[in-house]
Symmetry: C2
Subunit: 517 residues, 2 copies
């Protein structure tokens, strides 16, 4: 077998079953090898940012990596922004990056570039496969590295001649490193802080945002009176009726400061001490209240779920968690507003949904409206690099073909990776996209004020305006094979949303929601 | 004035008049400062790959840099692929990349990343502005560095606090380094090779592809019998009736080998010795014929135009150049084919056009059909990173508002940076886009054969297929505010093309041209 065949066979043996792909000439042997390993599903995307975002979404839902297939440095470059989000989500992803044949590289052909500089930027695991016989072993190492707790990006650079050479050897799966346990002293110290009688807040992230962590957190909060928050942008947050409803720490520093006001002990579990997203003149960037003591229960690489359970056993042995009741907003009516569009989603969210949330300013009221909806997952913009939503929805839908995927998407963000719609159509993915179309980079209008930027003239405002011409997402979606409708009232949104989730396959709703601010 | 104001004022004083922008929060003071320096034109794009490609196209036409405004590492990441093409084109571009405030960086906020690693990948000039008072001087240095012969990417990383701080100082323009002269010995040695009586080929690139270089090259070829070629992918090639018609070296190694067959002396002027785009199993990558001697007349940083003139003075003092006669194909008819669509363009190309060519396989017959058309510029895909055409057309149209810009575009490449159409509509740019819609990555179908990939099964072919669903570029363009039509016959294409170039503003034609192969 050739190197490409040994690569795909080894990936499949290691549990990697999907390869999101945008290939070029240097990857043609990989593409050809797909026919010799039918267990690997190739999913084509029209842009590498869709490829990498889809791999992220797939892994957030399944907990295991997909592969990406990328064409040389520029192909990886196009995929970097969504990989930045992946890095912040601690999602396992295996990049396969085709490179020129080893003897071709020194010639500095037009597409030659320093791929290793780009994989270095990802701060994950990276290896260049030097010889055909090593490709299988390198692939098994990549899959293990991607899954070493807490999960990371593993990049395998594959020269064309390593791929096409004969003498490939498959490699058995390599077990990844499990999360490290938290020692008993740390657990005890946290329990003592919780019993101190002083105000305590618990900030959870990573795997603690899944059911077991949420239940332990709620028990701790109920027993001790501690406030509890999830990190601002969790990779995957389980929520809805029957689960504890743990509030997210606010994106705006003002919100977060209000939430943490008066806290004397801040317990960090599976995430890091909070900092503001951006700096603002004259405002501190660290959000831990002055004088508060920070207690790290578990870092992202540690077993946060077990540790929270142990803390709960010490401080909340007889306490039940507070579970969210099933409750929904009424189906709203009237012209669309920032409040009634979220009510429509809350009223009609189907069972077992995955919400891919890139609503930015438009979604400020979403968490309250969906808190008591049927149980669902929420995926969020972990790294702040916009254009994540549509690709992540592709990956989530490939990962969970029997779950409805709801992509709540801002207009500006949507345009970064809009061709994801074509992949949704091609693969007939059950994704309902609602574009909050306010014809503006609304978040930047707000930020222009918040940073205290001198002047606020017409030319500045013009650079934050997405109107002139207005984007027509119905036509754009139809042009890529996705049925689409436009909603200007809450009734229309509710009716179109209900129909879209009831029908299999992708749908898009262009919702004329005015800006919040 | 604050740092942002000193930056924009210095850029304008140094001759930078346009800033292609996709800002975020860290760039808000730059955006606000636009109102205090009205000489700087801000042009908004919905994706950073459009921003960087537009800056490339602008500089290819004007010969001077535009600025880009990019948001942190992920924003630069999205712009890298087109900057790769810029690097290969030796185009001057000044990137302004906003970064977190200096005191915010160590906190590793969600959008934090190693921006310097990405600017390093560009292999140009890069500097981080440390203090507000230095921003102006750094900006002047960046503009000079970008224009140092032969032109490069200069990246200025601008921390938010350097931008918003008071105490900014403007800086006078710094003269860039002019092209280095070629010494007389080299000129004489080349003249001797041309007079050797052995078969000679002259391969020109860079500025030699403009009028003066082409005229000298033609005179040399006429006088000595040498073959003459331009590099395969010139940044800007002047051609058409009244200019010498110098053939481009073929993209396919087989073509190039045929063109250079039998050559004993290969003279390189303003480019590098030719290598194949990709490696193929069992095929050499260097295209210089075995046994041929390579003579470098001028490297890309040298004054190739003067050097060619000096060679011509030695070997062709009394020889006139061969000038292309004005001749056009007839307006064609019948269902669209790979031959007749290029005839329609050749028949109807307006005066003084700029052709942005990303036709890939569909355009193989284009040069012959347009050779005798009115004089025009052709911009090509210098670095091979697809998705360059639509953004470069934006920049070319901003640079030359009185010239018709014709973007001949492949379907697969178009989808990478499709939101460029919105900027074309917003700025009412005179761009006529013809999308060659063959529902396939046709070039990869060809490459799958050429690399000798084992197997050619249905799953491999599926990854090269852009049908299912077919892309409807009419709807996509209309969704972004660009009027569009569909052509399935040569008559329709000719009629629609003539109308589009006659009307101001952007137009798109979705042309159903079947694959060449």
């Amino acid at each position: 077998m050739n190197g490409a065949q040994s690569l795909i066979r080894t990936l499949v043996d290691s549990g990697v079953e999907v390869c999101f792909s945008n290939p070029g000439t240097s990857e043609m042997h990989f593409v050809a090898a797909l026919d010799s390993v039918p267990e690997m599903r190739g999913v084509l995307a029209l842009f590498e940012g869709v490829v990498t975002g889809a791999a992220d979404g797939y892994a957030r839902i399944t907990g295991k990596p997909a592969a990406t297939l990328l064409h040389l440095g520029p192909g990886l470059g196009n995929g970097l922004a969504n990989l930045h989000n992946t890095r912040r989500a601690h999602t396992p992803v295996v990049n396969v990056i085709g490179d020129h044949a080893t003897y071709h590289k020194p010639l500095d052909a037009p597409l030659e570039s320093d791929i290793d500089a780009l994989t270095g930027w990802l701060e994950g695991w990276s290896r260049r496969s030097g010889h055909t016989k090593d490709v299988g072993a390198d692939a098994a190492a990549a899959v293990a590295a991607a899954q070493d707790a807490p999960g990371r990006i593993a990049s395998l650079i594959l020269p064309a001649d390593a791929s096409w050479g004969e003498g490939g050897e498959t490699c058995a799966p390599i077990p990844p490193r499990a999360p490290q346990p938290v020692d008993a002293t740390t657990v005890k110290a946290v329990a003592e802080a919780l019993r101190s009688g002083e105000p305590v807040a618990l900030l959870i992230g990573g795997d603690a945002c899944h059911e077991a962590g949420l239940l332990a957190t709620s028990r701790i909060a109920q027993a001790t009176g501690a406030k509890a928050f999830t990190e601002t942008f969790p990779a995957r947050l389980e929520r809805g009726a029957g689960l504890p409803n743990i509030e997210r720490l606010g994106y705006l520093a003002e919100q977060a400061k209000y939430q943490l006001d008066g806290v004397r002990h801040l317990i960090i579990a599976g995430t890091r001490a909070p900092v503001s997203f951006f700096a603002y003149p004259g405002t501190p960037s660290e959000l831990t209240p002055d004088g508060a003591q920070v207690h790290v229960l578990a870092t992202p690489g540690q077993d946060v779920t077990t540790a929270l359970g142990e803390v709960a056993a010490l401080v909340a042995a007889d306490t039940e968690p507070a579970l969210q009741e099933a409750t929904r907003p009424a189906v709203p009516s009237g012209p669309l507003t920032p409040q009634n569009w979220v009510d429509a989603i809350g009223a009609l969210l189907p069972e077992n949904a995955v919400i891919v949330d890139e609503t930015n300013t438009s979604g400020l009221l979403l968490p309250a409206a969906t808190a008591g909806a049927p149980r669902h997952d929420v995926l969020t913009l972990t790294g702040g690099a916009i254009g994540y939503g549509m690709p992540v929805a592709v990956g989530a839908a490939v990962a969970a073909p029997r779950r409805p995927v709801i992509n709540l998407e801002s207009d500006g963000s949507a345009m970064y990776t809009i061709s994801a719609l074509w992949t949704q159509a091609r693969e007939n993915l059950d994704v309902t996209t609602v574009v909050l179309n306010n014809n503006a980079y609304a978040i930047l209008r707000m930020e222009l004020q918040r940073v205290g930027a001198a002047g606020d003239g017409p030319r500045a405002k013009d650079l934050l305006d997405l109107g002139r011409p207005d984007l027509d997402f119905v036509k754009i979606a139809e042009g890529m094979g996705v049925p689409a409708t436009r909603a200007t009232t809450a009734e229309e949104l509710a009716e179109q949303f209900a129909r879209a989730v009831a029908e299999p396959g992708p749908h898009l709703i262009d919702a004329a929601v005015p800006p919040l601010l």
